[in-house]
Subunit: 349 residues, 2 copies
């Protein structure tokens, strides 16, 4: 099928660029002896996870148990779930998963650790638990090296658990000193920090400048988006993920309306102005979103699109856009080569 | 099952409030002899569409053909699709649908009308086409009554089509004068404007103050959200739709982290500050979103939640939140009564 025969709006992935992006980061991390553990939140597609594993990833990262369950069923055997897993049913599912694959998780509180310990002990397994620390993201995570060291010791004393190392996001100047301080605090107790996992596509090419990192989790690097381009981590020509829309209305001389809105592109701005980069009309301003309409100002474009014209957009944030589609279409040049179900989407628990 | 046994994040609908909201708008529109044609974009669930029909709706409104196909398969026999349907495959699907149910659509250009005419004529049907006009929403729609009258005449001359009336969103002071001017322009040609369809939950209780409206399309009125509360159209106690989250981290004295982020709540702000109303902690500020984490400032709350506590949130915009869930749970009091697939979600074409 020709790409022009796809009904719009449609999310397409350039398979050659996808493969090149996977290889490029793997090559970089291999060169610096850093384990690659890509985050599948971006694609949620088992076939792409297998491409990442075949390229050399040590395993994958998932954010929810439901995602990990899908990936495990599809044959991925090493999964990191950097999330505080809380609640009886979730812990039951987690332990069922831990019996079938190499699974590791994170915690940032004694509350989470106690729940994990009880469930792991009951299940008769030893679960590696990494400690999440806050390197400035102000999300989860212990706040100080002392808290991290105390929690590491606590984990090491709990039945069913094993202290697995440290994890944070984002990676920045605070990362190395924090890790070094935790190591210094734990050394007298004989506890090693064997694994230090950080992540982020925007800073991926600086990973080797942080001496303490042993493992890297990037997600968006496979696709790219307007946010990644703006960060300087990927040139526009390497972006593999795009949304093709159709102009369904030209109500005024300057205004054009796409057949995709907030239910296609999401409302994520990530600090950018506008809702995407209109590839065919780089001077267009994609200024507004209804749920199923995109509002675009073409006033600065010398030539403006006609009704019925297909226009390609690089979204602001690929992760939340793929999450809105049931399927993603793989293309090579102008030919459709495959259609992938976004199998792990909508699995919020 | 008790509501507390649901894994979080979970989207729940209070079935009593849902029924009351459906009845309340139906009663109001009945009283004023305005046809009720609810927009299913909010729920995308056939069972709720049937509740709306049983309450007295003349039909439903869908925004995409895929949604209409799901609803038609579920037995809904009258669907309005207020969208410029463009492209060969979509027109084929549209005509297949039009052969099985009462279907009407909109257009705002000769381009769209020509495509509809060719497809309808080939299919051997007569399709009602309403004209979308721009009442200030600055989305699609013809700009002037003269353009509307010209397009109405154009539609009436095309094989396979029938001029079906006028449609706009939002409803405001421009609506009545625009319709009256179109009527005056069309009267000499013998064309009637039999149907005038407008919509919007925020302004729904003012519908009767617009003399020209014959049909109303509201979507969010069944659920309600923070945006609808703020508009004054619904008191908080009538809101039927909520998201239950769990506090998975309390990294600092004031910060709490929910187990739902932009892939649960969307990033829609709709002019509001923050990402939702934290029902149990009304002084909390839900200030940030990661993809799977909600960032909340509890500094203004005298009592703050503990890790593991379940907290209920009224989202900013219910339509885009239901669109992120595969299933919605119907509850009565604290009991789970049903689980509905969001059957028409993700059908973007």
């Amino acid at each position: 099928m020709h790409i022009d025969d796809l009904e719009t709006p449609v999310a397409v992935v350039d398979l050659d660029k996808l493969a090149a992006n996977i290889d490029k980061l793997q090559g970089y991390l291999d060169e610096h002896h850093i384990a690659n553990r890509p985050h599948i939140k971006t694609h949620k597609i088992p076939a792409i996870a297998h491409m990442q594993m075949q390229a050399g990833a040590v395993g994958i990262t998932c954010q929810k148990i439901g995602e990990a369950e899908v990936m495990a069923r599809a044959g991925i055997r090493d999964i990191f779930l950097p999330y505080n897993i809380i609640g009886g049913k979730k812990l039951e599912r987690l332990m069922a998963l831990a019996k079938t694959i190499n699974l590791s998780v994170t915690a940032d509180s004694e509350y989470t650790v106690k729940g994990l310990s009880e469930a792991a002990h009951t299940a008769g397994i030893e679960l590696p638990v990494l400690i999440e620390f806050d390197s400035g993201g102000e999300r989860c995570g212990v706040q100080t090296p002392e808290q991290a060291a105390d929690l590491a010791w606590f984990i090491s004393c709990q039945p069913g658990l094993k202290f697995g190392g440290l994890m944070t996001y984002p990676t920045n100047d605070k990362t190395d000193p924090f890790v070094q301080q935790v190591k210094a605090l734990l050394a007298p107790k004989g506890l090693q920090v064997e694994r230090v996992s950080t992540g982020g596509t925007r800073g991926m090419w600086q990973t080797h400048t942080h001496s303490q990192i042993t493992e890297y989790r990037a997600g968006m690097y496979i696709y790219g988006d307007r946010n990644v381009i703006t960060s300087g981590a990927m040139p526009q020509e390497d972006v593999a993920f795009k949304v093709i829309t159709t102009v369904v209305s030209r109500p005024t001389a300057d205004r054009g309306i796409f057949d995709g809105g907030s239910k296609t592109f999401s409302s994520d701005l990530l600090g950018l102005t506008g809702h995407g980069l209109v590839v065919d009309y780089p001077d267009a301003h994609f200024y507004g979103l209804s749920e199923e309409h995109g509002h675009v100002d073409f006033s600065k474009c010398a030539i403006k699109p006609s009704i019925g014209e297909r226009v390609t957009v690089i979204p602001n944030h690929c992760c939340v856009v793929t999450n809105l589609f049931n399927q993603i279409v793989g293309v090579r040049g102008n030919s459709v080569e495959c259609v992938w179900d976004v199998a792990a989407r909508g699995l919020l628990t």
